[in-house]
Amino acid sequence: MSEKKLKYVGTRPIRHDGVDKVLGKANFGADLNLPGMLHGKILRSPHAHAKIISINTAKAEALDGVLAVITGDDFPPPPSGKGSVEGPQDFGDMARNVMAREKALYTGHAIAAVAATTTRIAEIALKAIEVEYEVLEPVMTLERALAPDAPILHEEMRAKGEEPLPEGPTNVATRTVMGFGDVDEGFSSADVVVEREFTTETVHQGYIEPHAVVARSISDGRAEVYCCTQGQFMVRKYCSKVLDMDPTQIKVTASEIGGGFGGKTVVYAEPVSIVLARKSGRPVKIVMSREEVFIATGPTSGSHIRVKIGVKNDGTITAADATLNYEAGAFKGSPVMAGMMTIFSPYRMDHVRIEGFDVVVNKPKVAAYRAPGAPMAAFATEGVMDELASQLGMDPVDLRLVNAVKEGDTAAYGPKFKVHGFIDTLQAVKNHPHYKAPLGPNQGRGIACGFWFNAGMQSSANVILNEDGNATVVTGNPDIGGSRTSMALMAAEELGIPVDKIRPVVADTESVGYSDLTGGSRVTFATGMAVVEAAKDVVRQLRERAAQTWDVSVDDVEWRDGHAVAMNGHADDHEPLSVAALAGSAAKTGGPISGRASLNARGPGPGFATHICDVEVDKETGRVSVLRYTAVQDVGRAIHPSYVEGQMQGGAVQGIGWALNEAYMYDEKGKLQNPSFLDYRMPVASDMPMIDTVIVEVPNPTHPYGVRGVGETPIVPPLPAVAHAVNQATGVRFRSLPISPPRVLAALDD
């Protein structure tokens, strides 16, 4: 880790994409139109659980203006066997989620699709498609899914994982157990033990831009896709799996992305639009409605979590035990494992046991949502910790300080922690004026901590030096939170040229090396590493060109503040050469200069945060108002502090919405009752106070500038922080979210 003073990293330049966005010129997913383009619409199941007996598309196909109608039969068989599962993705399930085959598994599941000359004709054609269903009992809760007589979503599915497992057909996809020590022994040495159960509902990421795609099929079997996504290479790979194509037959261009938060990390309409384009011979655009986004794209899991923690009278944790049940939606693959890996990780413990169940229900298949699985886990653990602090008569921050993991401690999920700033965040909270500010009647204050491990993974970057001395930084990661400017800042630091002389570009899948998607808080860390390496490659070449120009050894040339400087007795003979001078003479010294790097980044560095929340509870209406909020987080190093603050504030507000208002509400038939922004209410400006931020910087030693992932950790503490504040204001412990006015009133009446 270089200790030299940084010139560009840590400054707050205007974002490179800002001008186009304030002018209305940025192109989002729905903004592209191609000549001859058709409009696609998807027919969606009105039933949460039903066998598909037959689909008759004849009447739809006969309509004027309809050029293609497709069903599951127009897709290749869902992948199975070798290559059909990669990490958490089962491409057979994905194919069935993109277009239902034998069964409709949630209200909104795609059944068929049409492409027509206008959206109006496409809508009429959908109504002309006749589907015969055999309606089955829907499974809408974890309790129902796990009951011995529960209807089974997937007859062929057998539970995997640690014994004991349910036998025969089941809605349990996996049971996982982790931990170490002997929890019985640990609890027997405890002075106080608290065991509680917590529930959270299905919530949606709520990005404002609905999914949108334009696909074009090319006569030699290739396809081109333009869409809003968190990963153009992800779309390429997943479409290739679902459509049995080679990845390189598909070119994907990512549009500007109007929010994602994890929700745009899988494919939905993209493969459908390719099949429609192929069948019709015309480009096809599909833009989801808001209702489709709610009912047919992945929200995050509803959960039920039991947590038991034992402590000594001085607060030291002796043992911890948890059981997590997460809804996966219609196909296996909830973030329960991430919930398990984060649930006890902020605290040191010798005896720990964590058990998790991945359970299918008749809701849309969940997708990632900002620190997937962690907020609900923290809601449970922090809730028990808050109650323990109260029973012990300890300050809740002090209880965390007694137990906080340090460098070298073993995390509950296995690895040893490297250096991090968790304790620094706790100290910052204790020293913050907010923590000691007076409270009025019906007001309360809560604190809570959050942990997220962050991701590294594969990234590529090209740094191209142009003939005018400006640089183009090309990466393969859609810019979801300001990453382009962060890339430019790191390149500026390496090259020694101002950040406004660098143009950061998000390239399509044919213009840059493979890059894993934008997610896991990985881009500034991992893609940033690739940019730094590629920029160093450019600097190496610049030094070589200077050495050649001066006829000295490259070892006699140093790179300083954007200039090649002659060293070792040559300094008096040669004036330093600037980037612009070296770029301008490149044709004479060997040709264009560009650098590249592709890497698999390791050691992302964990993120820890501690938040303080003040609320006031209106005992007449049950409304909880957040009065003041402070988010403290170890970010490693803030490359662009304004963007870091923006992530901390935005994540906190999403978490507050989850705590207080947001929830999917289903009727008994499994139909979502609130698939709109009117009825699924997300926070607006008048709901929120100032969100204060405190950036703690404990550099991550594995990153050249000390970066840790930032974006996800901020959504982890708010759920418990809000609940604890409400507890202090009302004396009631809320262990089910959301803490909505009817629930508050009901609890106060008791």
């Binding site: 707050r12 205007i14 974002r15 994409d17 800002g18 001008v19 966005k21 304030v22 002018l23 209305g24 010129k25 940025a26 192109n27 989002f28 729905a30 139109n33 009447k59 309509l63 004027d64 203006g65 109006r120 004709i121 009429i124 109504k127 002309a128 709520g206 990005y207 404002i208 831009e209 609905p210 500007e256 992305i257 109007g258 929010g259 938060f261 409605s289 808001r290 979801i480 939170g481 300001g482 304004s642 963007y643 923006g646 504030q649 935005g650 994540g651 906190a652 507000v653 999403q654 709109s676 922004f677 009117l678 997300m682 607006v684 400006a685 008048s686 709901d687 929120m688 100032m690 969100i691």
Partner: protein, 163 residues
């Protein structure tokens, strides 16, 4: 069930950002679709089709309206302003400049609606209090920023417009 699309296109003329547009459209066509598809002005974004998120906000004869709740035909003959018309002669409107400088946006999808709503606010109340800002903006949803950068941008724009 109708199996034929509704015919009966009507010529609709509006002035958008000072330019006259005439297009044939069905009476059911929404102003948001008219602007995006007939005028090619894709800076007006559609997020909810229900008038809740505010991303589609435009100004019709000066008043802020939700273009996703407005039939194009109902504003025929009106003067419409969209985000594309805010900057004059390559100079950003002070509200646009302030949103850039104060990091009042992350993904930028909700931004056009916020810009027009803030422009309207500052014309009515040149020096709004924080509470007035928050209330005036309560019909626009931003999922990225937590509204802090947006608040800072509005305060900064108010100052710019007074000097």
């Amino acid at each position: 069930m109708s199996t034929k699309p509704v015919e009966g296109l009507q010529a609709i003329s509006v002035t958008v950002n000072g330019e006259d547009y005439t297009a044939l459209a069905e009476p059911r066509m929404l102003l948001s679709d008219f602007l995006r598809h007939e005028c090619g002005l894709t800076g007006t974004h559609v997020g909810c089709e229900q008038g809740v998120c505010g991303a589609c906000t435009v100004r019709v004869d000066g008043a802020i309206v939700r273009s996703c709740l407005t039939f194009a035909i109902s504003v025929a003959g009106s003067k419409i302003d969209t985000v594309e018309g805010m900057a004059k002669a390559n100079e950003l409107h002070p509200v646009q400049a302030a949103f850039q400088e104060e990091h009042g946006l992350q993904c930028g999808f909700c931004t056009p609606g916020f810009l027009l709503t803030v422009q309207d606010l500052l014309e009515k109340i040149p020096s709004p209090t924080d509470q007035e800002i928050r209330e005036h903006l309560s019909g626009n949803v931003c999922r990225c920023t937590g509204y802090q950068g947006i608040m800072a941008a509005v305060r900064s724009a108010a100052q710019k417009m007074q000097t």
